[in-house]
């Protein structure tokens, strides 16, 4: 956290190397969220770029006594929702999920599962999807997600529970969850 504060301080002094370092440090995680939200590489990269432009312009507003990531993901989430709203206004049909590169046969099942999960995520409401991805993929706490999304903790919790339920129903409908083959394992 201390090194992050120093990095931010250098960015505020218009140090370009520090700015590049800040983008480099968080671009993967921001891109992860944007790709999960938008399911399209180009749109996700645009959203990442927009996010960091806003982050660097508004860096002075970040309260250094608080976590950086919820603040960062709040901006990224807003950019993604704006991109989704623009997409809804676009009349043309849209590629929902980009296919992943071909995998070896033993990786095929994992690849298909990942694509199904991504497809299921697209069926969720954007705010449910964002909360779910921040919890399960980015491992933010409920408190951090509530802060990032400016919503009460109870609301965020309900959204994530609903998202889990809807995704499991989706996987069942798509017959990804098959009845006969599964036995419980005690861990």
């Amino acid at each position: 956290m201390e090194d992050l504060r120093i990095l931010v301080k250098c960015c505020l002094e218009d140090d370009h190397a520090a700015m590049l370092a800040l983008v480099d440090r968080f671009r993967g995680r921001v891109y992860g969220l944007c790709y999960r939200m938008l399911s399209n590489r180009e749109d996700a990269e645009d959203a990442v770029q927009e996010t960091f432009v806003r982050v660097l312009k508004n860096l002075a507003k970040w309260d250094s006594n608080r976590d950086f990531e919820p603040w960062l993901f709040a901006i990224a989430g807003n950019r993604c929702r704006t991109a989704l709203a623009k997409r809804r206004r676009r009349p043309a049909s849209y590629t929902i999920v980009e296919p992943l590169p071909d995998a070896r046969p033993d990786e095929q099942a994992a690849k298909e599962l990942t694509e199904e999960v991504q497809l299921g995520l697209q069926r969720l409401r954007p705010d449910h999807r964002q909360a779910f991805v921040l919890f399960h993929q980015h491992e933010l706490t409920y408190e951090q997600i509530a802060e990032a999304m400016s919503r009460p903790l109870g609301t965020v919790k309900t959204w994530i529970h609903r998202a889990r339920g809807e995704l499991i129903r989706f996987l069942q409908e798509r017959e990804v969850v098959q009845e006969s083959s599964y036995a419980m394992r005690r861990v």
């Binding site: 993967g28 999960r36 990269e45 770029q49 599962l113 999960v117 529970h161 499991i168 599964y182 861990v187």
Partner: protein, 214 residues
């Protein structure tokens, strides 16, 4: 355990990032109840699907693209600020010279009211405030304004030209517009030698006179 209790307990385990299959009570129920077993299985698949890196890698050029965007945004803000500054100066100059431009006309061109009008207008007028400048000071101020107008109307306005270069052909060039405005003001000042007006379209600001006035 009933299915409803199972559901709550399962969500609680997931909220605490605990594997549901490490909870004996959940496993006991799921072994007996097919519907809940499917939920546990679905949950496991879901988390496995998320754990695999789904997204293609993010471009490593993002950082430089962000810096380029910041630089162009900053340049655009600077241009806008310059334009506002130039307009503010022009307005201030215009306001400053306006009373002097109107001065002589008020003396010579205003018609005297007829006796009838004077008779109707019976409301007594308050006395005019005394001028705060002496005649000598006023004359000195007038000379200064004239010198200033001579300067700005005899050569193109450099500040505006830089704005015009940016604006391109989207608006009438500000340098030309303000040049003629100042030239006209200079000619209307009292005591100005040349009474012959110059038609705006007959003049060009540029020595090569290559580009027509838009």
């Amino acid at each position: 355990m009933q299915c409803a209790e199972f559901e709550i307990r399962l969500q609680d385990a997931l909220d605490r990032r605990i594997d549901p299959e490490s909870d004996d009570r959940l496993v006991d129920h799921a072994e007996r109840c097919e519907a809940c077993r499917h939920v546990v299985y679905g949950q496991r698949l879901l988390l496995d699907g998320l754990r695999v890196q789904a997204e293609p890698p993010c471009s490593s050029h993002i950082g430089h693209q962000v810096l380029d965007r910041l630089a162009s945004d900053s340049a655009r803000r600077t241009r806008r600020r310059r334009l506002v500054f130039a307009l503010a100066i022009a307005v201030a100059l215009f306001v400053a010279v306006l009373p002097f431009a109107r001065g002589p006309r008020a003396d010579t061109a205003t018609a005297r009211p007829s006796a009838k009008v004077l008779a109707i207008a019976t409301v007594p007028q308050p006395p005019l405030p005394k001028p705060t400048m002496t005649a000598g000071e006023t004359e000195e101020f007038r000379l200064l304004i004239r010198q200033l107008l001579d300067q700005v109307s005899l050569r193109p306005l450099e500040g505006f030209e830089s704005v015009d270069r940016v604006a391109g052909k989207s608006i009438r060039p500000l340098a030309i517009t303000f040049h003629f405005a100042f030239d006209t003001l200079r000619r209307t000042l009292p005591g100005q030698g040349s009474a012959e007006p110059t038609h705006p379209q007959a003049r060009s600001l540029r020595s090569d006179a290559a580009s027509p006035i838009i």
